[in-house]
């Protein structure tokens, strides 16, 4: 079975030391890969690298990134390794059409991750329009927005709410809805438990898995919660502390 996302030998450095060394991550369709590690081990950094977002100096030292299902054997890190911030910026621009479409990101602590000047519905509209075949008419678009809200168990009225007016749980649901709305192939979920109580965490993670499976996408779940990972993940990648191999 070929992978959706293949990150091999990722090494990212700042002048003093390596932030991550030789990390391998694979995401497969319909499966959940968990990325674990103590704080400071570079979990978020690796996940962002998997989305071609590298913003450290000098940054990428080694590694290859392939999206086999999308671009076959093309190595997106070609020419970026050791290229510094300038090459990383170029990569970020080149791959903009992929983020939020082929690969999407469900952030942690969603309350501060949503644009305060956008309604939930507007944010969802923007996400839905990134689909491969976006709905053609305004009516279809509205229908799609409603479906997205239903998928994550939010009432239709939530579409008129601004991000600042949502509770923590609702914000997390919204962020998830926005992440799955473009029907991505890869969903990267960053520590959904941050800032939520255990009951809500469980609800959100279960919801994520359900939604991801119904949309048939692969999922990369960043977590530090051993119990959660044990229960839900198909594959586990563990990062050593301090980013050393």
């Amino acid at each position: 079975m070929s992978a959706l996302l293949e990150l091999k030998g990722l090494t990212i450095a700042i002048p003093e030391r390596n932030l991550v060394t030789d990390v391998d991550i694979e995401v497969h369709s319909g499966r959940i890969t968990a990325l674990m590690g103590p704080s400071g081990s570079g979990k978020s950094l690796s996940a962002r690298a998997a989305m071609c977002f590298l913003d450290v100096d000098p940054g990428l030292k080694a590694g290859t990134l392939k999206y086999p299902a999308l671009s076959g054997d093309k190595d997106w890190f070609e020419g970026v390794r050791d290229g510094g911030p300038r090459a990383q910026d170029r990569l970020l621009k080149e791959t903009r059409h992929l983020r939020g479409a082929f690969v999407t990101y469900a952030p942690q602590a969603a309350s501060s991750a949503l644009n305060p000047a956008r309604t939930v519905g507007r944010q969802l509209e923007l996400a839905i329009l990134r689909r491969e075949s976006p709905p053609a008419s305004p009516a279809d678009l509205a229908q799609a927005v409603r479906e997205c809200l239903e998928d994550v168990g939010l009432p239709h009225t939530a579409s008129a709410a601004l991000a600042g007016e949502l509770s923590g749980g609702m914000a997390q649901r919204t962020a998830l809805a926005v992440a799955v709305a473009p029907l991505p192939k890869v969903l990267i979920a960053d520590e959904p438990e941050t800032g939520l109580d255990p009951v809500l965490t469980r609800q959100i993670i279960e919801l994520m898995i359900r939604v991801a499976q119904s949309k048939k996408c692969g999922m990369l779940l960043i977590s530090h919660h051993e119990e959660t990972v044990e229960r839900v993940a198909d594959d586990v990648v563990r990062l050593p502390p301090g980013g050393h191999g």
């Binding site: 977002f53 970020l92 983020r99 939020g100 990101y105 644009n115 000047a117 991000a163």
Partner: protein
Amino acid sequence: MKRWWIRPLVRVVAACLLPVAVPAVITAFIWALPGDPASIICPPELCGGTAELAEAWNLDQGATHFYTTWMGAAMTGDFGNSWRLQPGVPVGELLASSIPWTAALVVLAFVPLLVGAAGAAARIIPRQVDAILQAVGLTPSVVLALCAAAVVTITYGAFAFDDEAMRVKLLLGALCLGLADQALSGAVTGVRGLMEEERKQRYVQIAILRGESVLSNTLPNTLGALAGQMRARLLHLLSGAVIVEVVIRIDGLGDLLWQGTLSQDFGVVLAAAFGFALLSALLLLLQALVEVATALHVRRSPAGVVS
């Protein structure tokens, strides 16, 4: 965020108050000073004809009467006649002939500010430029203006008012106005600070991970503050125009105000102050409009999904 309408509302109230309040405060001030209003406005040793002045300007029947008559006439565009500057000429005519010059000067000076602000917002202008602009901006406008005046005088003579000389004067004046007293550097650093602060917000970082453009995310959140900055810059230019116009000798509103003050022509000063207050109120209204429009735009529900 919830009571978003309070700020624009205060602005609208202030804008409505301003043109009414400025003449009122001046009136109150005159009557509060010890002595006869007419002789305060134009001391007898300078003007003579104090009684005549008092009658011509309704100064002899109390503050309220003066204020209501003046405001009533001003609403219809009648500002009375000039008293000393160009005796007998309607003040309205003087205003009408001077406003275009000031407008041209301020607009010309504002263009580079807008370009600078836009450049800073779009991160085109490098930070190193700031230091240079700031160093230039430390110069008071009178110093820059006197250099410009010298250039004009040497090239065209002391009393040059032909078209070409006026064009050069306008351009040089706009340059002085734009550069002096931190006008340009304030616009650049102010907008840059605002946008960079917003760019650091977490939601922008997440928007990048969503493949969205940064500006489309930050702009709605900063538009109100940006409008406020631009309004402050315009006011700054309007205020600075007085010195530049007088030094370079451009017949604008500022020059009119200055000449009116020098010759103790109360009608001209009051009308010019009223004109400036109107302009300022207009800018306030514009800012409130931008804020309300942004808030409503942000709050509109997506198509077809109505709560």
